[in-house]
Assembly symmetry: C2
Homo-oligomer: 186 residues x 2
Amino acid sequence: MPHIPLPDHLPGITGLLEYSKHTALPIRQLTQFLLRGDSTLSPGERELIATIVSHHNACAFCTAAHTAAADLLLGDVETCEIIKHDIDAAPVSEKMKSLLKIARQVQVSGKAVTTLAIEDAKNNGATDLEIHDTVLIAALFCLYNRYVDGMATVAPENPEFYHGLGQRLVDNGYNRLPDGYDHLKK
Amino acid sequence: MPHIPLPDHLPGITGLLEYSKHTALPIRQLTQFLLRGDSTLSPGERELIATIVSHHNACAFCTAAHTAAADLLLGDVETCEIIKHDIDAAPVSEKMKSLLKIARQVQVSGKAVTTLAIEDAKNNGATDLEIHDTVLIAALFCLYNRYVDGMATVAPENPEFYHGLGQRLVDNGYNRLPDGYDHLKK
């Protein structure tokens, strides 16, 4: 049960974004820019960063939601499961493996990011901006995971829920409110 | 040395906010709303939340900057130092002690927030919104601390630097760019 009253039909982050609309707006804008804005990293690659951080923060809602979005964007259901347990075994580029390892370090702590990991990413072709965006996406999901679990929001157990949510994140990105909540835009 | 080239004269978060202005805008807006917007928690109390989280994330730049801002807002230099080591000994309200303990749990993990800590805050008069804002401020500083240290930004050692920065955060809040950077608003 959430620590404060939240709408039953809006689990996880969705109820919090409705509860506090003034903070929801910049959070949505930041996420939209980082995960869907112009980038040399694909939206699927950026959803992998969100997924690996949420997984290691043990945030069930965010992990399931971003796994669903990444699966749809990448066109398979294996990559997410592999990166959660063994980055080097995943069918992604060497550059992406390096960036996922940096994201994994950010999840632990900013101070856990090593010069070796950064050099590895640069040697594998990562640009300064890709490294910057990886660190900031990973840091953003450390915010989301703490917000979602720190408020003890509900994580549905039904996989269909996350498939539907993942599809909405693919179709609409992060600026759109959930279906039926257009009146909140006023 | 930062992991990517950043302006020498803009240490810590300030260089990152210049490097990536599109992400800086919503980050600034979120921070301004949470730390300076209308609230039943004073700006000084909210800076204490930023300070305790940054301290326990061992982020030297953010800890010094928000300690300086909190000191100015609270009118003393003892409260910040005490809350870093012993919340119960600090000259703050029982409600604020409870909220600082929740922030401390959020710093560890969203899952570390206990129902007992939430009940304690409510028993000490904390509202649902104050609990929400405490969790989100703590989560936001987990983002900031990881961004600042994950990019290996420079933290000046001169205390005068942080006194000046703290004064700017008190006078101008979080929406204003550093002095001399008005051209970036275009």
